[in-house]
Symmetry: C2
Amino acid sequence: MAVFHDLQKKKESASSFFFNFVPLKRKKQYIHTQKMPEISLRGAIMPASPIRKLVPLANAAKARGVKVYHLNIGQPDLPTPPNALEALRHIDRKVLEYSPSEGLLSLREKLVTYYRRFNINVDVNDIIITSGGSEAVLFAFMACLDPGDEIIVPEPAYANYMAFAISAGATIKTIPSSIETGFSLPPISEFEKLITDRTKGILICNPNNPTGYLYTQKEMEQLRDIVKKHNLFLFSDEVYREFCYTGAPYISAFHLSGIENQVVLVDSFSKRYSECGIRVGALVTKHEQLKKNVIKFCQARLSPPLLGQIVAEASISTPPEYMLDIYNEYVERRKFLVDSINKIPGCYTPIPMGAFYTVAKLPVDDADLFCQWCLSEFEYEGQTVFMAPASGFYTTPGLGRNEVRLAYVLKKDDLAAAMKILEKALEAYPGRTL
Amino acid sequence: MAVFHDLQKKKESASSFFFNFVPLKRKKQYIHTQKMPEISLRGAIMPASPIRKLVPLANAAKARGVKVYHLNIGQPDLPTPPNALEALRHIDRKVLEYSPSEGLLSLREKLVTYYRRFNINVDVNDIIITSGGSEAVLFAFMACLDPGDEIIVPEPAYANYMAFAISAGATIKTIPSSIETGFSLPPISEFEKLITDRTKGILICNPNNPTGYLYTQKEMEQLRDIVKKHNLFLFSDEVYREFCYTGAPYISAFHLSGIENQVVLVDSFSKRYSECGIRVGALVTKHEQLKKNVIKFCQARLSPPLLGQIVAEASISTPPEYMLDIYNEYVERRKFLVDSINKIPGCYTPIPMGAFYTVAKLPVDDADLFCQWCLSEFEYEGQTVFMAPASGFYTTPGLGRNEVRLAYVLKKDDLAAAMKILEKALEAYPGRTL
């Protein structure tokens, strides 16, 4: 199986490699050495989730009695809105039936109103409910991209975009943004350079996961112009729109005039109401042919989760006071985490302007090894910290090697403990570079 | 967009067409005639769900005040077990968090016990929880099949297998089974003829959707032999295992010795507990490499629905008396529906031995047109019937043209009304052939 391991390393050229390789007859080389049918190359080249791949090490640490602080995953510790939980307790259906493939009408209607608050003017028929934002990305790619098609994404980027692109057989071409420039949008000329006649779209996440960057009006207009010029899709993941922490406005892709039919908005209830487990998201588009296409994928999987949709619908009515409390909590956590990191010798993170993540540079040889080491070989007063190595958010080899993504989804006391542990870990780590 | 419509008609050769066509540069031909980026060919060639594509006509009929009996979809009217609904009402979590990507451990442990009742001996690590059986099929294909790979499926077959194969870029080759032989397994020599060096597996659904056929011990052994001989995967969709209505035993793919590592079992809670809306299923395999591969797809979509898993776990403890009531209800409905159909002049259906569907031959020119006509142009005493045209369950052109799939998921009074309407519709339909 050595070829699979080599392939793993080749993730920089995974998709193109994949499609050049597939037409060869690969079967014969394995058939005599193993008694099992072989798995797909697609799966073999798919990178493991940088957010979840170290989970077994964390579980082992917990089994040893070590307390693990989870900064690796965007799972807020904040309560799901009580009105949402109340809706759950009051479900009086006798049969938990399929919902429509495109989602409950009542939920889609409520979303129309929700979006209007953000000056996003869409019709109920523009909204298709998905099983989490994840499925919205998958269906967007499946319905827009064919094998060999390309999309351009600034990196670091949410790692699972790559997984969904591989699922669709498409190629993600990345343009590095840098911690030195606070992860702002790379020059638009860099996008132009990558455009070929297989380029179908540009993908952004705004506010950004993992960097917390919030694209400016000017940057969004640059994106609009290039998307318009080359007739591309603009895939815009805006699940963190409620978490913008500066006076700068949140610019939705749907705010950009002249490309209304090119926007594919990805949304999710998970983060804004701290209900990641309900698995409800949405794909929003005004492109009529695309809607029909996405609906076919929706019908194939029958329906999104009914119970989650009931919770999601109730969540939209969460009182503004509750949302403000949550917001203020993140503002505090953000300040605390960013200040704490920047106080540790050799560490640096720019101020994230939105979402609830930040990418930090650490004084280590290799953040992948450091994160593993924290879970498997280190503890401080019976505790350790679980971080996501940033390398998994880049596809350009070597980038993010000394960076981690940290989620400030834990309460301040826990963040304080985690930062103390990080500081101690950096002092003890054999591969420290300071 | 004429090419898309032509493509739709070409579903017989959809996948191969797709992959021959993709490398061409298609973009230029559209770019000047429309202002929008074009959708994927993958989506364009994907057939609409035969179960759901007529939904707009049904909705229009309802809007006209016509009562519509749904025989088109496997959505039982039977109540979800009270203990499952009770579990829902007693969720006292404050945060509806992500569950593990592979599903809740407690649910997987309970499934081990559940399968043991059916003499299916699997370990907790062999079970991966999915968002419905649908996702189990999708992930099985994604993780086993590369573009151009082939699987062999007896037809008629559950229509969405084709959609998931197109998603994975794989080709389904079908072997017709016939209503004349009660939809028994086609001769194994027919399978042998289709095997190439791109064949990766055989897919069965047992008990079968849409035919209700239950594969015999002898047929299952034939499948085992060919799967073993050619080192193939045996994808086995067994979601209807609790609904077998004859003395003949249910033979799981996992009962077949010598191919344990080749079996990929697809399961779902939807049908057996009448909880289609919870979206919880499972993929079960002992193939270690495949498990790792599937987990990567699971991690990419983060987690299956939490709330559904809680309901599913409680459902496994449904008292046997309750399950027996459900079973007896289906036995009665089956007898009623089959007898009723066979009494109508020109109609015929073989006795389904399991699941809750049957495929019936009707005296009509074209069942697609007939089903549309029933929804849009016919009513009897303010009522009509929604059936699934069987053509969508075949890929061989022309097959199933005068057949429909009927689900006996409604109570007997409703089935009686629906059969009366069917009889009247057949008398009035301009394209009747009797």
